[in-house]
Each structure stands twice: as C-alpha cells, then as structure tokens.
C-alpha cells in the first residue's frame, strides 16, 4: 500500500474519508457510535461538517437513548444552525426526544433557530450574546450565521440600506467599512451614496433579487429525456 505523507491536512482528509465511509457501509451498526461522536468533535475543531454522519449518530441515540451524550447533541445542533438556510436543524430535532429538547441549553438553541428561521437577526444576536458558552464552543459560528444572513438578504434585496445590513450581520462602524470593502473587492458588492440617508449597498445579482436573470428552462430538454428516443432515432 502507498504510504500517506503525514501532513496534517491530508491526515484530516484521510480521517473524514474513513468516517464517511464507515457510515456508508454501516448505516445501522451500533458499534460505530464512538467513532461518530469523535467525528462530531473533529467537525467542530476542524470546521468541517457532515450532516449524514451526524444524522446517523442521532439515529443511534434514538435507538439506544441510554447512550446519548447531551454535549455531543448540543454540538450537532450548533453545527446544524451553522448550515442554515438548509433545514438541518429541524432534521436533527425530528430525531431528538422531546424530554431532551426541554433541557435549558437545547431550549436556547431552539430559540436561536426560531429567530433565524423568522429573519429576526437583531433578536438572534442579542440572544447569542447571552449564550456565549454554547455557541463560542464552536469555531466559525459567527461567520456561518453572517453568511446565512447575507444569503437571505441577497434573496430579498437588490439594494439595501447600510443600517439594515449592519443589524442583520451584527457588524458596525469601522469593521463594517472594512467588511464592505472586502465584499466590494471580492464578491461584487457595490457601495452607493444614498440620497441623503446614508449608504446604500447593491448586493450581488441573482435570479431572486433580479428576476430578469431567471433562466427560462421552458425550452430546454434534459438529456436523459432525449436518450429515451435514441433507439428510435438510430
């Protein structure tokens, strides 16, 4: 067998490949539970994410509740919040028994999810500030929520006022200037002087805030449909 060079990055890939593989081969095997728990911690420290592996772990907890670790469940849920706008948080809740969800730390996370689901970023950041111990345990949390905020703002706004943006991503003043400069240079944001009411930001165009960009796929035919008539054409 070929020897892997032991740079840390490759090692990491090696491990993640192994756990993902483990899940694919043993989706219903209780013996992989400790590996999956370690893998959750690894996702936290290496800022990676695997929904399938985490669902697999929650499933094993569901089958054998006495093996459940609340700390691991909390980490999975924080990671799932960070995956917004994907519905991962609900997917996890569907598998966690109600009595567990009643615990304080989970209640907090559910409230946080509620604010994100309903676009209430101000409340979200306030609440998150009160629960630093939960969310700060997971590196990359703030950035992940900021990119969710930007995602949903870009679906909604063609041009947005600076304070509205600032509130949603929880960045203000000089840091915001820097942030905007960076986005303008790298992601095509345009900063406009508003008419007397401060700065306006033009968010990157997409088919949702610029409907004219919407590709009409009415006239296109997927290849696999055409292949059905190949034998006839031939």
């Amino acid at each position: 067998m070929r020897r892997e060079r032991e740079t840390p990055k490759q090692q990491q890939q090696q491990v993640s490949y192994t756990v993902e593989h483990l899940v694919a081969v043993n989706p219903y095997n209780p013996d992989i539970l400790p590996d999956l728990e370690n893998y959750v911690n690894e996702q936290v420290s290496s800022q990676t994410y695997s929904l399938d592996a985490n669902l697999c772990l929650l499933r094993l907890y569901q089958f054998e509740p006495e093996r459940m670790s609340n700390q691991i469940v909390a980490r999975i849920l924080v990671k799932a919040l960070m995956a917004m706008p994907a519905p991962d948080f609900s997917l996890c809740l569907f598998l966690i028994p109600e009595r567990v969800q009643m615990e304080e730390q989970f209640k907090t996370l559910i409230v946080l999810s509620h604010y994100l689901e309903t676009g209430r970023f101000r409340q979200f950041w306030d609440e998150a500030a009160k629960s630093r111990h939960i969310v700060e345990a997971v590196p990359g949390f703030e950035q992940a929520i900021q990119s969710y905020a930007i995602h949903v703002l870009s679906l909604t706004y063609e041009k947005i006022q600076r304070p509205v943006l600032a509130e949603a991503i929880n960045i203000e003043g000089l840091s915001l200037d820097k942030f905007l400069e960076y986005q303008a240079a790298n992601s095509g944001w345009i900063l406009e002087k508003g008419h007397g009411r401060g700065q306006l930001i033009v968010l990157p165009q997409n088919e949702f805030n610029h409907p004219e960009l919407k590709k009409s796929d009415a006239d296109s035919v997927p290849l696999e449909h055409i292949t059905r008539i190949f034998p006839i054409l031939g």
């Binding site: 219903y28 569901q62 609900s90 909604t156 949702f208 059905r228």
Partner: protein, 520 residues
Amino acid sequence: MASNYEYEEASATYDDAHRQDLGYDPNFVPDSVKSFVVHLYRHIREKNVYEIHQMYEFSFQTLSDRLFKEAPWPSVDAVAHYVDNDQVFCLLYREMWFRHLYARLSPTLKQRIDSWDNYCSLFQVVLHRAVNMQLPNQWLWDMVDEFVYQFQSFCQYRAKMKNKTEQEIALLRQYDQAWNVYGVLNYLQAFVEKSNIIQILEQEKEGLEQFTANDGYDYSGGSNVLKVLGYFSMVGLLRVHCLLGDYQTGLKCLLPIDISQQGVYTSVIGSHITTIYHYGFANLMLRRYVEAIREFNKMLLYIYKTKQYHQKSPQYEQILKKNEQMYALLAICLSLCPQVKLVEDTVNSQLREKYGEKMARMQRYDDEAFGLYDELFSYACPKFITPSAPSFEEPLVNYNQDAYRLQLKLFLYEVKQQQLLSGVRTFLKVYSTISLGKLANYMEVDEPTLRTILLTYKHKTHAVDSDGKIISNADVDFYIDDDMIHVVECKPVKRYSDYFLRQIVKLEGVINDMDRIKLD
C-alpha cells in the same frame, strides 16, 4: 434446537387461538385448502408466475373470506406433508398465515414474536441460499410491506406498557431481539446490498441490464426474488425512516429509484402509493412543498383514473384510505404554498369538495386554523414509532404517542413560523410595487417587523435541495430596492418536451407491434 423449541411454542400459540374461537382446529385441513396448497406448491415449482399470482391474489382471498373470516388458516404443520415438507414453501405459507392473522384477528405477543422468527428464517434463506423461485411482484411487495407494518405494529404495541401482564413483560424481556430496529433495518439493507439492485438500476441506464423493462422479472428463468426484494426494500427503508422521523435518510434510500418515471415500484399499486405517500410526506416535512404537491397530484390523479380496476383487490380499502390521507396532505401543502396551478382540475375539484372550506379557514392563522392543521396532520401522517426498548422499571408508562406528538409539535411550530406569510401574499398579489412603509401600514406592523416578515417569506419559500441548489417554491415573489418592494409574478413553466417524447416512444411501440402482425 432453536427450531424445535419454536415448533413447540407454535402449537401453544394455536391452542391460544383455539380458545379464542372454539370452532377452530389448527390441524383440520379442509379439502379446498389442501387443493390450494398443492396447486400453489406445484405452480411455484413450475415457476408459473401467472398462476401463482392468481392463486396468491384471488384464491387465497376467496378461501379466507369463505372459511377463515374470523379464524386463522390451518397450521403449517397440518399442511406440510401435502407439499413434501418443503422448507421454503412452509416459510412462505407461514408468512401468509401470519399476514392473514394480523389482518383479521389481533395477534398475541407470542404470535408477533413467532412471525418475526418466521421472517428471519425466510429472509435468511433468500439472502444466503440461492433460491430459484419466481414470485409475482405483488407477493414480494406484500412481504416487504407486511414486514415493515408488523414492525410498526410491534413498536406501537410494545410502547403501551401500562396494561401489560407480567407474562407479557417476561416475554418482552426474553425476546428482546424480536422486531429489534437494528434487525429490521439491517434485513432491508441486506436485501438492497445483496441484490446489487442499485448497480443494476445504474447499469440499466446505460442499456447494460434489463430490470425495469421486464418489470423486475427474469425471462431467462433465473429467480427474481432477491432482486425484487432488494428493490422494494428501498421503499421499505424510506417508510421505516419516515416512521422514525428521519426524512432526509429516507429520501436518500429512495434515490436509486427514479420516481419521475414509471418503474417496478409502479407495477404494484400498493408499492406505488406507499412510495409516493412517504416521498411526499418527507418533502413536506423538509419544506419542499412544490415537490410534494407535484407528486401527490400525479398520484391522486392516477388513483382517480384507475381505482375502479382495484375494487375487487384486497388492497382496495387501503388504497382509498391512503387516497384520503394524501388529499389531506395536499391540502396542508397548498395552504402553506398556494401553488394551485400545479394541481390538475380533477384533483383540484376533489380537493375543494373534501377540504375547500377547511383550507379557507386554514389561511386565517388563528387558533382555529392551527386546530385544522393539527387535525389534518394527525389524520394523514404516518404512524410514528419509538424504536427503543421500553424501560421495565416501575411505574410502567405508555410511550406510544411520544413520537407522534414530537413530529406534530415540530410541524405546528413550522406552521406558526409561517403564520404571517399568507397576509404578505395577499398584498403582494394586488400590487406591482409598494413601499415598505405603506405595506407596513396595511399589515399593521412597524417597518422593522415587516422586514423580518419579508425575510421569512423569502427564506421559507426558497428551499435548498440535496445538492445545495436553491429552489423557489414561491407563487408570488418580490425583491426590495432600497425601500420599495417590486413584485414578480411566477408563471409555472409547462413542459411539453416530456409529453412529446413519451408520445414518440409510445407511437414507436405501436408501430413495432403492428409490424409484428403477420397478415396471411
């Protein structure tokens, strides 16, 4: 040894049943039953799938109605010598025996455990010994379907701990492997893997295999049993995962089957309905409403057009029930995502008849509306289960409702999060542009609140699919420029290409058929 024990126990089981119904003698085999097993056995040996199907689907039903309306069929021991004591046939016979018992009587705990043992023996044979039988798809589907059903039924039964007798509790402790969730999932998974069905379906796309084209049968004489069981097990896994609330994994299990096209899953009405019902339900829970609406619509239209052909089928009642449940689910989807244009007229008029008035009230988002969401969901959802073993510690508690209550609660939570969206929708429909201030005024909220409502609208109507692509479910969409809302109407695209391609293939088939006719 184990099997010896099993047989002893089995006869005790029949004695129980005997006591329930004094007219029943498990060892009495009426002539018609004798003739039934002899013929069925012969047809199986001769691989006469057509005759097997006739006997399985109709004779069994007729005999059950005539002789075993309220009693079990004769015990397997009593019929075994008519069929050369053939092990596989006896396992198949017992599988039907239990299925009939579950359908017409209520099984005792011992019978539930025996049925599990019988499935294990039967599945071991299929998985580890090459069987050369050919069985009808209907029967193979029923096996998977019944296996999952009995698992669900066992979990429900086990969760009602309060009124268990000491004897039952002792049995539950003793046979803790019976209907164990790992066992159930691993059997289904083993069928999928052992049958290579995923690779077969993959290769069929490249023209290297014929599976769907032959409806799953093997016309060169090989056995279809493992392959088709593997195929239906993917649907079985979808269903089990839905029962567990694991919608994402359920849909993943179904992925190898292309449900945009006909396939072996559509060759049996029960499998077709189970597939689409659970597929649609899982998508509803994942907030992919448009996908759910599309598939429910297609299925309901299909049932509407074909149900007359199933009137005599033993599944007819089940078909009607799932039909009603899917209308309820469609009503929920359309209340959350009013894309009525996706629904055919016939389906829509049925829907209005059944739920028109309720749907109007569901738009209001008051307590009564939540009550209706609750009612429809509870009526139409799968029978959720708690898969873990009970705690045998006193006091014994019932937990059979826990799983259902959790799913219901989370669903209603989602509905609550969307409660202000129908108000926005109403205004967006009548304006092409409107300022934030004006809309806030109309909706009687302040501007920051309105902004959050609009963000919610965008978030909830734009689902993310499994590849991370954003799919819009919005019937009315908009974007905001500074503080002006611009409304965009979404017109659904009608795809003609698929229709024409289907017709081309159909026409080619007809021409080929005509070419084959030789006129003398």
